[in-house]
Amino acid sequence: MFNFIWLIPLLPLVGFALNVFVIRREREAGYVATGAVALSFLVALATFIQFAFSPPAEAKPPRVDLVLWNWISVGEFNVPFGLLFDPLSGVMVLLVTGVGALIHLYSIGYMHGDSRVVRYFAYLNLFVAMMLFLVMSDNMLLLFLGWEGVGLCSFLLIGHWFERRTATSAAAKAFVVNRIGDAAFLVAMMAIFAHFGTLSFYDIELADGAVIEGFLERADEISGLIFSIPGQNFLVSTGIAFLLLIGVTGKSAQLPLFVWLPDAMAGPTPVSALIHAATMVTAGVYLMARTHPIFELSAATQGWVTWIGALTALIAATAAVAQWDIKRVLAYSTVSQLGFMVAAAGMGAYVAAIFHLLTHGVFKALLFLGSGSVIHGTHDTQDMRKMGGLREHMPTTFITYLVGAGALAGIFPLAGFWSKDEIIAHAWSGQNFSIFLLLFVSSLLTAFYMGRQIALTFFGQQRDHSYHAHESGQVMTMPLMILAVGAVLAGAMNLPMLHWLSTWLEPTLHEHAAEFGVTQLILAVVTTLLAAGSGYLGWRYYVANSAKIKPGAKDPLYRYSGDIWEALEEAWYIDRAYEKLTVVPGFRALARFMAGVFDPQGIDGLVRGVGYAFSQAASALRVFQSGFVRTYALLFLAGVVMVVGYLLII
């Protein structure tokens, strides 16, 4: 199979091409798109199995590297268009294609009757292809192609219903905010090339015997190198890692660039599930895991990573508590969970980060699809104040949602328990107690807001009777059930004591399985108990106060917290600060000044000033152009006299 790994990203790409150029009918579009991704999943699975049982012998540690063609080669700058399949890529590919295929299937039902379904499926296929390029790239540049490509697809899919202004501006915002991170990523890449002379991750032996060197295994070469900006010296590794971190904050929606993700919920719900929960936003975590040798060289950046992750986790979790929109809760929850992963990566617990990435991919996709099912079943209602009591109308959705929520809250023995617990255990065994505290509180809040959401959505009485709630069709519930099973079982990947995932990833991440001792056991028990308690509290409180909740009303907790609650609703006003106070207005004003005043009057004024001076000087000379031929003759004669005189003198 190893020579066919190019099929994995190609199949969705073919689906994209078919949907763009050939297919015009909705039904075919859905089937083709889903089929392409499903086939891709099968190829990936086959490759994965072969890799697991008979890994390629020639490479040590085992990895498959397939150079398709020489992409860019200018002078010493050589970047192949090469695909990589190693343990880390393998699990990512399975997640992307597996969850992706389910979400495609789900979309057939969810998007039925939409006016631009063909286009939708085309974008979705393109997204999967780009995501696969991202995780299967063997060099930074191709990774960047996927990195920006998924950003583009995110833009397209958020803006799918571009008739709505909110969707358009959310799409543009997502793209631009991502672009800020991407720009830092670009510079990081250039720095890497400038210092290592290559952008490939690992050594590649080409068919003709030539070797392209990789930089990850030589990362030590830059340890201790410094660069300086006036007055300050920095480690080169810190510079590179920090720039990568900025890239990560953009793509993985971390502080301070997380603001685009909640807005991104303006896209169709399956998109939120696939892109803004399961796959694209995790790209940052994947990147950090992939380039961990660089990060490990810079303790300063690792500190930043950890703190950014932990703070994001807490801030987003608090914001999630105060949302009414069913999808915004999940959006902030996603930001918060990504914070967990980033913090884990910062602490050096890459396996835990990837583990949580994988489980989160499954159960968050489940939750989003569940919320999509709710939205679908309630005829595009998203405000949880208008819901309530839906468990009777939508039993399948309810059960699966409950599983997903439990997994997210970290209830034993669901997937989230295992992965989140591993991160918290790392924070505990690490030296930094404040990080542990931040993450711990965030995880309790997670349970709380999921309890709140379940109570508001599925329990109590239906508060708005303008719609008739119904269960979604099989094409939508089927993926829910499959994912629910996944959410239950995914934790088995890396059970303590067995450590399958740790072992599997060890060749790539060079991280040995964490010790599992009594402390960890106690911690796990305490965490899950407290989480369960917190979740119950959330559920209990909102079920009890269900009478006070009406469309447009304030949250029952508002009377205790007052203005703080409003701050929570606005995610601590960070977004508003950008948009209303600082960055955006400042940029607009400056741009207007340049285009309206400085350019036409300053620079062009100078230019026209020169022209004006010449025309004034010319008018002065017009006196001589009297129109009298004889005057011209006179001047002519004067000239003759002068020339002859001059010749006589010399």
Binding site: E148, F193, A194, V607
Partner: protein, 527 residues
Amino acid sequence: MSQLGFPLLSIIVWLPALGALLLLLVPRTNDELSRRASLGVSTLTFAISCALPALFNPALPEAAAPAMQFVDQIDWIPSWGISYNVGLDGVSLWLVLLTTFITPITVLSTWDSVHKQVRAFQILMLLLETAMIGVFVAQDLFLFYIFWEFTLIPMAFMIGIWGSENRIYAAVKFFLYTFAGSVLMLVAIIALYILHRDAIAATTPGYVGTFDFGVIAEHLRSGSFVLEAGLAQALFGAFFLAFAIKTPMWPFHTWLPDAHVQAPTAGSVILAGVLLKLGTYGMIRFNLTLFPDASLWAAPAIGILAVIGIIYGAMTAYAQTDMKKLVAYSSVSHMGFVVLGIFALNQIGVSGALIQMINHGLSTGALFLLVGVIYERRHTREIGEFGGLWKVMPIYGGVTLLVVLSSAGLPGLNGFIGEFAIMQGAFMAYETGGARILGWPFVAFAVLGVILAAVYLLRMYGGAFMGDVGNPENAQLSDLSRREIVVLGLLCVPIIAIGLFPNLLFAPMETSVADVLHTFTGVVAGR
């Protein structure tokens, strides 16, 4: 005669001019026929020019002088050492192809955008093509200057006759501004000729001098003709100013928005697609080759101007409400990248700059065509007048999106390759000794241009193409016609192809770029 035994390059240069003569035989009122004839001639030129990359030998051994291929040389004014001398190397190869490719596309677009005095327009277009190709292939400074100036005349007429309300002002400004720069260049060319003649005549009495660029460059390299540092810097400045105005670099850019806004669509496409590249081509061909020390001396200052141009152009573009003006200012930003790449003075930077010239020609040309499409339908280009165009005109929306993304530098499309190579080059622009020429601070600012490109292009795209169809006048617009699809489709093919297979372009230019940078070799990464 070239290595082929027949003057292929001269045929390509003069075929359009011959076509222009033939067009005189077409009745003045027969618009359709003159368009077809012009399209036929320019397509034929393109077809013939396709032989160039096929026959091009990418790996000529590095010689003392720039190794030209397909050389045709005939004495012209022997007593001053002036000859008709055309030749091609890897630097000019793709620019010639860009010219021959863009011209038929532009001609094809005149069916929709030029409605009066069609024959005259086509004649000017073909003459312009000859002049533009001539600039790229002329190897004699005198010949170069003639072609260079000759590009001005047809373009000024195109703006002045077929432009919109304020066309005369724009045409005169365009003409005077660029002319002022080129006169300085003429002085520099003559000075170079005299200095070179006198220097050589000192050892070879009776030497009449030469305008042959290759000979002068060779003598400079071999040391038989030495320019004093101050003099070299002055000559460098004179050449550079002419090229900087044409490019246009900040702060010499103000003629560009006026010219673009007033010019007809076809004129804008040619202007942005090819004419702007004359300036940056000149920088590579003349400034770098003739005055290496002065280039090194001036590189940081020029780099700063380039970076200012990148950011300034992007910010100004953002504040525009007229789509065409927005695209025009975006050119300032993109050409800033090109200049930055050139003055990185290393292989990656200069190759990237060359690729970026091609990319800019394709993407910006396509953007102007796209703006022209909507202008022909609604006779306005204000973003605020539109909204939801993607819904009304889905194909148009899709194509525009692709081109916008290419212009914004999305990886996988052509724009990214150029921008990345340029910035990578600038990042690693260090002298042998480790002294910084450009280095990372330049990149740190230039990269803002990448962000801002997304900002202003998405502002345009989001404003005009997304959102709901608010204005009832837009509700019934017809989507792209078959001809428009062909025109734009042709541009989209290289946009994607270059993004995925840039080596097709990089490979032939490698030796020639290395040769231009001959003097700077050793300028490698500051590890």
